[in-house]
């Protein structure tokens, strides 16, 4: 193996802004988001594709950013939790998580909100089963999930007119 690995050019749109970076091919997407792009709202929990704290949207689909290489996001549009707020206004999903006490420590919350966003972008009136299925890949160790489900319901209601 060569000691120095050539960097690869990546062009990626994150929260609507185009970035051009040179990254090591082994760099994970979550590392690129957190380090060179300084978007530390995307968390690393388990680093083993289990917990979903690193969930972001890639071209609208929820993915675990610890289980993708940064170079694989070349040409893609990524949405992280920092992209939810618009003009100082919380996104309806963020507001719902606050209103429903859908978080305690907050570590899993960015991932849960992005999984909620994927669900609601495809299904505006999810039932409880749809909601449970949508967040089956997001682990929360504080809330017991009841208030998260309530938050998802509030979010669906908040977004009805949107």
């Amino acid at each position: 193996m060569p000691d120095v690995i050539a960097k690869v050019a990546v062009k990626v749109t994150v929260n609507g802004k185009l970035h051009a970076l040179d990254v090591e091919p082994r760099m994970l997407l979550v590392e690129m988001l957190r380090e060179p792009l300084d978007l530390t709202g995307t968390h690393v929990g388990c680093d083993t594709t289990y917990c979903g704290a690193c969930t972001v949207l890639m071209n609208g689909a929820a993915v675990k950013s610890c289980t993708m290489f940064a170079v694989q996001a070349d040409g893609a549009e990524i949405t992280t939790v920092e992209g939810l707020e618009k003009d100082g206004q919380l996104h309806p999903i963020q507001k719902a998580f606050g209103d429903a006490y859908g978080l305690q420590c907050g570590y899993c919350t960015p991932g849960l909100m992005l999984s909620t966003l994927q669900l609601l972008s495809k299904n505006r009136q999810p039932n409880e089963k749809d909601m449970r299925k949508a967040i089956a890949g997001n682990t929360c160790r504080c809330t017991g999930y009841q208030n998260i489900l309530k938050a998802m319901q509030f979010a669906a209601q908040n977004m009805k007119g949107a």
Partner: protein, 278 residues
Amino acid sequence: MLSQLGDDAKLLAGGQSLIPLMKLRFANPTHLVDLNFIAGMSYVKENDGALRFGPLTRHAEIENSAIVAKVPIVHDCAAGIADVQVRNRGTIGGSLAEADPSGDWAVVLSTLFTQVRCLGKNGERTVELKDFIQDAYTTALAHDELVNEVVVRIPAKGSGGAYLAFKRAAPVYPTASAAVQLTMEGNVCKEAAIALGCVGLTAIKAKDAEAALRGQPITEKTLAAATEAARAAADPQSDMRGSADYKRTLVGALVRRAIDIAVRRARGEQVEVSHIYA
């Protein structure tokens, strides 16, 4: 390109098995060739009585495919793999090529007539799934070949199937799983295919369990015989997911439930299946 890079190069499909294995240092490829930027590798088609899957077709695309809804056991599999995020990335071709002993696809597809079209520099060859998966993490693919298409024959009318996995949580591999595809004529089972997952190094075809149903009416007696034969066919290891005894008992119960659903689906009933969580 693979022939030039040599034996230690690996193909990267969805990466939902390979990247975790690399992080654990269980896999240490010198080169990764990412297939994700190649156009036309992701599709679900139906022709000549078969479902045809592009190798990079994501589990989520299969889950949401109207064509696949006609073969409920395939939908059960796609919709039950891990969680939304993993299904958005993971692929059918990658899953078969990885041949993880806990993978779902090989279990389900071994109850249907499935062919894997393998492409190498000398052209394409077609391998039946039963010959494709050779051992844990070992397939018939040469190091410079890739899965080009997965072809699954659509079962005849009067056939019904179900796939059930028992998991501790969505993102983990099942503790055990069972796939059952039955062709029924009234209450008599004309043809049976039963496969067990996570209780051996590869998916296990429970041939004695199939024989216990074939040509027989579905009664308490034949159900008990099939379940017992499935338990005997399992070859589980004790691990953090459960003891060997526990898994053997579990897989029998899953087979029994899957037979019940398969029979109802063969009659044309709509039965929604979801995996069972501890």
